[in-house]
């Protein structure tokens, strides 16, 4: 028995020693700390003028620093609308009386139900809001991130950004390959959501967000962020009607929608994008300033003027 325990301990020790640097590598990676801004906010909350929720389009979409607005970005990669609602419920109280909630919609908003990176929420939401919650996953994610393969591979991918097939690089064929692959993924996800009948669940959460904001007199604006023309080419008006607008129309909200998807100021300007559907630092700044001006024009953020309703 003693011999057996010594052998087990020997293997465990070697694994542990090799694992320490792996764990360290992941724990300091960008993707593992993607929620750091929300976490900082949680530790040092302050009143904010504007909150945005949504998935990666929204996360890469907004930076209101140049406008002087206090901004809380609650968007995270592949975030479902369920978690938009949960985060808003958790942090919405910090919105100023005349603040605005930007709810980002995209082609995957109604088709996406599976939370791919549940670990992102362990530190920024209450446990009862996390579903599914598994105690082993929780502690291993927090203290042994190197054991989380998705986090490890994200960290590796972040370090070796050029280590991709040529066809997987964002601007090959002027972004066409990327857009084609992504549109296939969107369609597959949407088809799965139709089959699993989960679209109504996302509609319910969007309704909850709107009701939550109405109950607290928060101003809520729906937005669709700009994309490059190579990406937009794969999503025709009919596609957008099927993926997004038919569900939005069915909900019949009295809420303004700012739709910048095919905005000419961005559509052909590759310098504003990381890839076909995500803005880069420059694009983010330009876009946020445009949104700020449009919100002001709509009478929000201290400027009471007429409020246009409907698609811009």
């Amino acid at each position: 028995m003693g011999r057996f325990i010594i052998k087990i301990l020997a293997v465990a020790a070697v694994v542990g020693l090799v694992f320490v640097p792996v764990n360290q590598f992941v724990s300091v990676s960008h993707d593992y700390n993607i929620n750091h801004a929300i976490l900082n906010f949680k530790n040092n909350p302050r009143p904010v003028d504007i909150i945005n929720v949504g998935a990666s389009h929204s996360m890469y979409g907004y930076n209101f620093k140049s406008t002087g607005l206090e901004h809380l970005d609650l968007a995270l990669p592949a975030q479902t609308i369920e978690y938009d609602y949960k985060l808003l419920k958790e942090y919405g109280e910090h919105l100023k009386d005349d603040g605005v909630v930007l709810v980002s919609l995209s082609q995957i908003t109604f088709g996406s139900t599976e939370t791919k990176f549940i670990g992102n929420y362990y530190e920024i939401l209450d446990r009862e809001d996390i579903d599914p919650y598994n105690v082993f996953d929780y502690y291993s994610y927090l203290y042994l991130p190197g054991a989380n393969t998705a986090s490890f591979l994200s960290a590796v991918a972040g370090k070796f950004k050029e280590f991709r097939w040529d066809d997987h690089k964002p601007w090959v064929d002027n972004g066409d390959a990327y857009a084609e692959r992504k549109s296939k993924r969107v369609e597959a996800e949407y088809a799965a959501a139709v089959e699993a009948n989960t679209i109504s669940e996302n509609m319910r959460y969007l309704k909850k967000i709107i009701e939550y904001c109405e109950e607290r007199d928060y101003t809520v604006v729906l937005t669709i962020e700009p994309v490059h023309e190579s990406y937009a080419a794969y999503f025709s008006e009919d596609d957008m009607e099927r993926l997004v607008f038919q569900h939005l129309d069915a909900l019949d909200f009295d809420v303004p929608l700012l739709d910048y998807m095919n905005d000419e100021r961005f559509a052909s300007s590759r310098e504003y994008f990381i890839d076909g559907d995500h803005l880069n630092k420059t694009g983010r700044k330009v876009y946020s300033e445009i949104v700020y001006e449009d919100l002001k024009e709509m009478g929000y953020l201290h400027r009471p003027e007429s409020i246009p309703v409907g698609r811009k």
């Binding site: 052998k7 293997v11 393969t149 591979l153 799965a192």
Partner: protein, 483 residues
């Protein structure tokens, strides 16, 4: 509580520890409790069905033995088997038969009003039903005495390592092992742990890494021919890694209790013929089908045509056992056809090999046969994996289209992986193949490993554990867990 979870490993560790600390006379109760707890954690609503099947089989076994005549024994055996097959048939095949009859009625313009039933397949029912049938048949054939101790008998039905996905064991092999007092044995414990670790390695580093790639092609409405070819080959690798992993874990867990289960795989993708393949793939099911379907069907038959008919029926049963869908029926029939065709053309093929001269080069000849067998198996798996019969035929057509095998198209298809995922998969696949190669050379790699210097051995064990911890992905259940 999945096999691939910390909870399961802690559960096993706890049960094993208690097992060796309590007297032998209480161990059956511990194993039974563990079996029911494990089953309840996965599918509590069907625990009563498991208990009912156990009771029916136990009583039927004793009643068979008490009958005076062979004829009466047969009636009782068939009555018991009918009840067991009714349980399985109701849950597994009712809607399949119902829908098929509805389609036939529609085709003939007849009225058919039996409604669809919202049925869920009870976990492991195919596996424990086949074990029960073999038990009753063995009593009838005089190969097995009915077990009088209800506790031991129930453990045979609910032994948690092999409950969910086999191996399908015979009572005469398993029950005596439960009855023998198993002493704590260092070699059993270490061997069991190694098999469990290797099973988790195959599942998390190969099978589950391939699963999303295969699904992305087979669930796509407009997959290309090259994608179908690559996805089908990858599915074959996934299926083997997945199913052999669950067998490894089952065999490893059982060995921790001193119980030896039957090996279910012998490197099936290195089979040199379809007959050889079925001697290497899901061996316990193949043996079951041979003993309880094929041999009884062949009894008194001498004509080649009658034997071939028995082969076709046996593979048809195999297909139906795998799932309630016409795709599985077709898959079974294809293997039946392969088997019959292989047997009927054996001499012709040998003559061709001699004429061409390939039989003078046994290594090349063997690898040629391995490649052909593997591709035939892959082709049949197009039907196994497709979501419907229409899709299966379309995918099969694409698989057989020469342009689908264009090397450029095939290489491009690997871009379904991200480059990092591809490198990782390729690396672990090579490790897996090296292990299999050593297995072919040394018969048992684990024994060979245990004779290596301590540094090499521990480096390998550490590598396996660390790979699982860092690179392992597991988001899916076992494929055969769904049968």
């Amino acid at each position: 509580m999945s096999f691939i979870s910390i909870e399961f490993l802690l559960f096993v560790a706890g049960i094993v520890t208690i097992y060796y600390f309590i007297p032998h006379r209480f161990r059956w109760a511990l194993l039974l409790l563990a079996g029911y707890l494990f089953y309840a954690s996965l599918s509590v609503q069907f625990l009563p069905l498991l208990l009912a099947s156990t009771a029916v089989t136990y009583v039927t076994g004793i009643v068979i033995e008490k009958q005076q005549t062979k004829q009466r024994k047969k009636y009782v055996m068939f009555a018991g088997i009918s009840v067991l097959l009714f349980f399985m048939g109701w849950f597994k095949y009712f809607n399949f038969v119902n829908e098929s009859l509805r389609n036939v009625a529609d085709f003939l313009g007849l009225s058919y009003n039996v409604p669809y039933q919202d049925l869920v397949l009870p976990l492991a029912i195919s596996f424990y039903t086949f074990q029960a049938v073999s038990y009753l048949a063995d009593i009838y054939f005089g190969k097995q005495k009915p077990e009088r101790h209800y506790g031991y008998f129930s453990v045979y039905f609910a032994f948690f390592p092999q409950l969910v996905a086999g191996p399908i064991e015979r009572a005469r092999k398993l029950i005596p092992q439960f009855k023998v007092e198993q002493k704590y044995d260092y070699d059993n414990i270490t061997y069991g742990m190694k098999r469990i670790a290797w099973g988790i390695f195959k599942k998390t580093l190969i099978a589950d890494r391939l699963a999303p790639i295969v699904s992305s092609v087979y669930d796509s409405p407009n997959a290309t021919g090259s994608e179908i070819v690559v996805a089908t080959i990858l599915f074959s690798i996934q299926l083997f890694a997945d199913f052999s992993a669950v067998s490894d874990i089952a065999i490893g867990c059982a060995r921790l209790f001193g119980i030896k289960l039957t090996e279910n795989f012998k490197q099936p993708h290195f089979a040199v013929s379809i007959a050889d393949f079925w001697n290497r793939w899901h061996i316990t099911l193949s043996n079951w089908l041979r003993d309880y379907i094929f041999i009884p069907l062949c009894k008194g038959k001498k004509k080649r045509g009658e034997i071939y008919f028995a082969i076709i029926i046996t593979f048809l049963v195999s297909g139906i056992w795998h799932g309630a869908a016409w795709t599985f029926v077709l898959w079974g029939l294809i293997h039946g056809f392969y088997r019959v065709f292989g047997d009927a053309t054996k001499h012709v093929r040998e003559q061709i090999a001699t004429t061409v001269g390939i039989s003078k080069r046994p290594t090349i000849h063997t690898w040629w046969k391995i490649a052909v067998t593997f591709l035939l198996v892959c082709y049949s798996r197009v039907f196994f994996r497709s979501n419907s019969v229409a899709e299966a035929f379309e995918n099969a057509r694409l698989f057989l289209t020469p342009t689908s095998w264009n090397p450029v198209g095939i290489l491009e298809t690997f871009q379904l992986f991200s480059l990092i995922d591809f490198v990782l998969f390729a690396f672990f696949f090579v490790v897996f193949q090296v292990f299999q190669y050593m297995e072919r050379k040394h018969r048992c790699t684990w024994n060979w490993l245990s004779q290596l210097p301590v540094f090499s051995r521990f480096a390998f064990y550490s590598f396996v554990v660390l790979s699982i911890v860092v690179y392992g992905v597991s988001e899916n259940g076992f494929i055969y867990g769904g049968f």
